[in-house]
Symmetry: C2
Subunit: 182 residues, 2 copies
């Protein structure tokens, strides 16, 4: 992703946070993480987030999803003998469609990103609106998508070690290099 | 505290959360914890909170302080060989005056609760407005007070074991029995 694209997505994310009543400091707005997963289709498969705190005991982030934007399927494996990351998603604003391992109940509300169908394999649907939350156990495959307005989701979790995340799509790079604009 | 007093404080807290744009479910509104610490002076020394999640790995709560309300000085000791609770306070709305161990820099903004001066012993001041946060290391004495409008504070932390909290004021009971109204 180019620096200019990152900056544009950061601004859009800051607006979404503001609309949801989530206040960030100036410093935080400048370090919003824009994750395109090396796919080059940020609006379709991507995630924006700010990490409030990540210690060796716990982590807290605020996640933003643009309308229809999907965070691709992945799981958090055990690291250094510790169980994988456990995370609680609490929807603060908008709607998020979350999918985890388990029985699929008919049609799902999210649209699987076209061309990536092979990399979406779990379809037990959990729909979260403001004030609703769900805890994803360690090692559970999951993916999620913003609803028609997008979504703001607080993530409370054990320590984050994003570099160890295992994505179903083998072409994904969790932390790609940002390219400077010419 | 009487059941009717708990209910009244829950309603006031729910209003404060709503004003701050924090959405709770109906079920959560009904289990807002009203902590008067057995002192019988809730408006002066007390804390209202909702626990979103508390696992053996992490915890997340939303705290509410009425204007000028003080959470009394305490620390989180080691439990079962684990270091004491570590917590990050992130102010979402209003102002919170936080005091921890360390050098006092002149006058403080909070008013120490009258008659309880002996039980307030740390005065390093940290003032948090919306979007500002501070992490309190394990075993650190601290107390905090809501500003003129009160405060809403997200607490991200390691596992909560409130029953082990050590308060400076020996007359404090962290989890007193609620009395039914006659």
């Amino acid at each position: 992703m180019k620096r200019s694209e990152v900056k544009k997505a950061q601004e859009r994310t800051a607006e979404l946070f503001a609309r949801a009543g989530i206040v960030l400091t100036e410093e935080e707005r400048g370090r919003i993480e824009v994750a395109g997963f090396g796919l080059g289709r940020l609006e379709e498969q991507g995630l924006e987030l700010i990490t409030y705190v990540n210690t060796d005991r716990y982590c807290a982030k605020e996640l933003a999803l643009f309308p229809g934007q999907t965070c691709p399927e992945h799981l958090h494996p055990p690291v250094n003998g510790e169980p994988g990351k456990m995370e609680t998603f609490r929807c603060r604003w908008g709607t998020v469609y979350l999918y985890v391992v388990g029985e699929r109940a008919g049609e799902i509300r999210a649209a699987v990103p076209a061309g990536s169908e092979a990399w979406y394999t779990v379809f037990r649907e959990i729909v979260l609106g403001p004030g609703e939350q769900y805890t994803i156990p360690p090692g559970t495959k999951h993916w999620f998508q913003g609803g028609p307005e997008g979504a703001i989701v607080s993530e409370f979790s054990s320590t984050s070690r994003d570099e160890f995340d295992v994505f179903t799509d083998p072409s994904i790079v969790r932390i790609p290099v940002i390219e400077e604009d010419e």
